[in-house]
Symmetry: none
């Protein structure tokens, strides 16, 4: 995965990958049909690695703020852990329809749906402003994704460092809850 991420699918050679993995070229072909199958398998594996279930399963008892905070924190950490990989993953997921369906149904849909529930109940409780739930849920999910991508692009210049993880989570949570404007 490191090689694919660094070079892209077409530019990563099987020899590169074998060498990075410390095995012979032929060994790879004992486990994967071909180079593409290798990529798909690797992606499928990293897709499901997150401990999403905890967050998604959080009880109603937990405060809205806590849930949003956990979500941001979890995805932020996933992003930090996956670093450069992020864009590559998205790009390949987008191009492979089977992978896309899997990712949409197993990762995107549950998260979006969880956020929608959150918004819905918040609005019903009159604690959240009435908004277009479908759009705002994507805005929140998108914000996390976009922040990770900017981090990858800016690299050394980015303010998104692991060390500041707590603070970033706090800021993003507050931004999400209160926006820019002072009450």
């Amino acid at each position: 995965m490191a090689v694919f991420t660094r070079k892209g699918f077409g530019e990563a050679t099987v020899a590169d990958i074998a060498s990075e993995a410390g095995v012979a070229v032929g060994t790879i072909y004992n486990y994967y049909r071909d180079k593409h199958d290798l990529l798909i398998s690797l992606i499928a594996r990293s897709l499901l690695s997150a401990n999403l279930s905890e967050i998604l399963g959080a009880t109603e008892a937990t405060s809205d703020k806590k849930i949003i905070e956990s979500l941001i924190e979890d995805r932020l950490e996933f992003g930090l852990a996956n670093g450069q990989r992020f864009l590559f993953l998205f790009f390949e997921i987008q191009r492979n329809s089977k992978l896309r369906r899997q990712y949409l149904s197993q990762v995107v849909a549950p998260i979006i749906s969880r956020i929608e529930n959150l918004l819905q109940s918040g609005i019903k409780k009159n604690s959240f402003r009435p908004t277009d739930i479908k759009i705002i849920s994507r805005a929140l999910a998108g914000m996390i994704i976009g922040v990770m991508i900017l981090r990858g692009l800016e690299q050394k210049d980015s303010p998104f460092k692991k060390s500041r993880s707590k603070e970033i989570t706090k800021e993003l949570t507050n931004f999400t809850l209160y926006g820019l404007v002072k009450k």
Copy 2:
């Protein structure tokens, strides 16, 4: 660009591209040094939209809300116009250091910097909550980027349709300004 976007750099063949462009393979080499030069030239061309400079140059007289709205609207339209291309652009930009420097200095930095100014002055005027400007500026830029990517992934199921462009801009602007919580 359509072929690069659909297949990725390594998998797009010069023959594909020539055929899509309706010219012979050899003709491409009369205009571009090599395949990589072709990609770089194409990307460099799509980086900047005409409107961006106007928005970035907007006078202080314009209201904060208007500026945010214009920015969201412009990038949203860029994203809708570039569709699937979005991720590919980011991915290739990330991998090509010359391109990355160019993109960071010509697109990301001005936008981020404009947003930072906006936040700074808003906070000074006491109309915005005091926040970590570096983080929140990335949150806003990231939100727009992430929203475009989700749109590309979800495709038919996404609520981000061209037809609803006005409404989406409004929702995102309000979310940015006021957050989720009701005052």
Copy 3:
């Protein structure tokens, strides 16, 4: 074809073939999908090379002896011209069902059928002994095939030399007509 015949399909390398043909490896792939397609195309081409039509179209006016003689002579010359190729052709034809169907319908069936007609009319005219036409037609066709194969196997030791072509044809024709036993 020379390389395939000399080495067999699996042992002939595309580099060998390209070098023997005096072109680059890549050039072969501009004309044939893959190595197997190359073989099939070559075989299909040599299958239909014979001037069978003349013999098969011979009028009834020609004497039975003349027809048999022409047939033996033609296939004998085809065999001498194709030399070692003979067995390889048969082997590959046998293994490729499309090729087999083509060979059976375009070469074997017409020849067998012509021989059957010949036998039938000869028996009716009472000039030929009554025999099982289906078996004897194969015996005659098979004799020619087998003789060619023995020639390929025995190589230097075989009595089937080009120089003796006329005499061989005469002997085989007489054997076919009169058998071993003296009247």
Copy 4:
């Protein structure tokens, strides 16, 4: 042998063969030096049928007809038993000089020589027409080989079925002795 016959030497993989034989790949290498040695050993084993020696050793007392009949019958049965294998055997024998020498000296030469003796003595006894012994012996041996090959090619459509073995032998014997022409 089944795998070699079905696929050809180069296309048969040792894994195929091991799997068909119900052993592990490594086991094969405990008994044969390499893949080629395996093939040579298998072919050498199938070359000789038990009956051949009896026929070849038949005393002068046996009638010419009986000898020819036995020979045809034996090789016919060998062909029926070896089916598709036939062509493959010939092809590989042709290509392997050691194998070719062995086959020529142990199978072809004795049969041809036996037939030549038969013809010679028949001609001397004035019961056979005077013919070119070298050619006619090959015609007879070739007929049997060719008939087997046609049978393999035609498969379902061929009149050479096991069930008709007796009749086929009779027809071929009569054809050999008396030819087509009625006395």
